[in-house]
Amino acid sequence: MKKNIIELRNVWKTYRMGDVDVNALRGMNFDVKKGEFVAIMGPSGSGKSTAVNMVGCLDIPTKGEVFLDGKNIAHLHESELAQIRGRKIGFIFQTFNLIHTISAKENITLAMVFQGVPVDKRNKRAEELLNKVNLSHRINHRPTEMSGGERQRVAIARALANNPDVILADEPTGNLDSKTGKMIMDFLRKLNKEDGKTIIMVTHDESLAKYADKIAHLRDGIIIKES
């Protein structure tokens, strides 16, 4: 039995919008095992992204506990959260979220700069990763000079920069055509199967769910079904 790499215990997230409190998560409980490929599905506003932000240490719960690799991150300091984000988690976003003013390679090395990786090491690693996502020929191109599929591949390479255990993909194919989307999904599956990365993917596309080992259905801030 593989151990849990992620555990959410009675997690609440409350946002204040004007005078009203909005509960994005209402006591969510959720486990992810090491090496699992999990899809979180649900209609918009169901709390999918909020849940992923918790797991990704981008946000902390209003109430409840979040364990990452056995460590409770719910009460950590900002700088410790940043450390964990940088080392243990790789993000892939729907809108790619690359920095436009620097090259593909620099986007990847930047993640390593924040972790204090020496310059020659991070350059080598960035080149390897770009090679891995078949973008060796685009190494010095800026994101604005690339297609959507290419940008998302750079984002995947960046997510892998510090060799994290967990990849969080928030609608990774949402801005791509179906052919490119499939290519990205195949790539994610390869990362899961071959490199043993734990992948948590948010989507509302049923057809993508088939890639996952487990699907969690989220509605109104709690998981209503796991399949």
Partner: protein
């Protein structure tokens, strides 16, 4: 790591070239003003001190009316021959010489100017004059006792000089010039002294000057005194003041004359210079302050514009302190680059202005004294300015919530 951040910050500036330049202009203008004006002011100070240094600290100058007002304007009650004789008898006075200065119409061939004529005292007084003003003949000779209707010309009078005070035609020794309608022979041309007032003088014997300008036998504009080497110049100064108050029948504090030491003159000029410099500093400080606010404005815009980038960087592991450092370095860099450019322009402007001044006035007096500390100080100061005004925007950037920042649509 800091180098990586600096590179990133530099990249940030490069990607916003126009705005970065515009932001820097304020700093550039301020630093240019500071560097150039301090350099010129410092140069003037050094030149003035060195010039008065030649006169020596053993000399006193008595003028009527007081202050630095032009002598010989006839407004003040002039000094008298009697004053001079009494001063000669004051204890500690080695030599005292009376001088006359006036302006006169001077003609050479068909060219006419208004020039300043100065008398050359006879006897021992001649030597004080020559040594005090560093008078040496470039061509011909200096005046000597018994030189009737003869003149010696200052360097900028005799033509060929770029200075505006002299003749366009070159005047050589042996030439005849007309002063107030009287004919004079040029017996000597003076070496450049570096002082534009002395270089623009026409020297003649005292009797000639009295005749030409119709000045009574009793009057003097200036009395120059050389103090005995063993005497205390302060005491001699006080004694002369006491004597003149009695002679001229004025009360203390209401003197119609001034006794000045060279140091007092330097101090007076320096304090006038300081007032000008202070004014310039205030203007420069305002300009630099405005420049700093410009940096702050630019950095705030930059934070707003890069909100999403900040979110991205945080999501891939940047701490608040990292984001702060990035923006802090960027604003410091804007300040430093502005400072460096300001310093370069300042040096160029100072040397440029100084050489224009030298050409126009024909005087070595105007020269820029550029100190390495001034340059380093102003560059460091602008770096500091950039960082100080960058602190608040950098804090704002660092405190952005990553989730909100990522949501920022651009």
């Amino acid at each position: 790591m800091l180098i990586d951040y600096a590179k990133f910050a530099f990249n940030g500036i490069r990607n916003r070239k126009l705005r970065s330049w515009l932001t820097m202009i304020g700093i550039i203008i301020g630093i240019t003003a500071v560097v150039s004006l301090i350099s010129i002011g410092q140069g003037l100070k050094v030149a003035i001190s060195s010039q008065f240094g030649d006169i020596g600290t053993d000399k006193l100058t008595v003028t009527a009316s007081g202050g630095l007002g032009p002598p010989g304007t006839g407004v003040a009650k002039p000094l008298t021959k009697d004053n001079l004789e009494k001063i000669e008898n004051v204890k500690g006075v080695k030599v005292a010489a009376g001088r006359l200065i006036g302006s006169a119409k001077v003609e050479y061939k068909d060219e006419g100017i208004f020039g300043n004529v100065a008398s050359m005292p006879g006897g021992d007084g001649r030597e004080i004059m020559e040594s005090s003003f560093d008078l040496e003949a470039k061509k011909g000779r200096l005046l000597r006792d018994g030189d009737k209707r003869k003149v010696v010309l200052g360097d900028s009078i005799a033509g060929e000089s770029m200075a505006f005070s002299g003749f366009e035609k070159k005047i050589d020794t042996g030439s005849k010039i007309m002063i107030e309608g009287e004919e004079f022979e040029v017996v000597g041309l003076l070496e450049k002294t570096g002082s534009f007032t002395v270089d623009a003088l026409i020297f003649m014997e005292e009797d000639d000057l009295r005749e030409v300008l119709d000045i009574s036998n009793e009057e003097y504009n200036i009395i120059m005194i050389q103090v005995h080497p063993n005497a205390d110049i302060k005491i001699v100064d006080e004694d002369i003041e006491k004597l003149l108050r009695k002679e001229r029948d004025v009360k203390k504090g209401e003197e119609d004359f001034t006794v000045q030491t060279p140091q007092a003159t330097i101090d007076q000029i320096n304090s006038a210079l300081f007032a000008v410099q202070l004014f310039v500093y205030i203007i420069a400080a305002i300009s630099i302050l405005v420049g700093g606010i410009g940096i702050m404005n630019t950095m705030f815009t930059s934070v707003l514009e890069r909100t999403k980038d900040i979110g991205i960087m945080k999501s891939i592991g940047a701490k608040n302190s990292t984001i702060f450092t990035l923006f802090f370095i960027e604003s410091g860099l804007i300040g430093s680059v502005g400072g460096i450019m300001g310093a370069v322009f300042g040096i160029a402007m100072a040397t440029g202005l100084a050489s224009v001044g030298r050409l126009l006035l024909g005087s070595e007096l105007i020269r820029a004294e550029i100190s390495i500390w001034l340059i380093l100080g102003s560059i460091f100061g602008s770096f500091l300015l950039g960082t100080i005004f960058g602190v608040i925007p950098a804090i704002r950037a660092s405190k952005l919530n990553p989730v909100d920042a990522l949501r920022d649509a651009k």
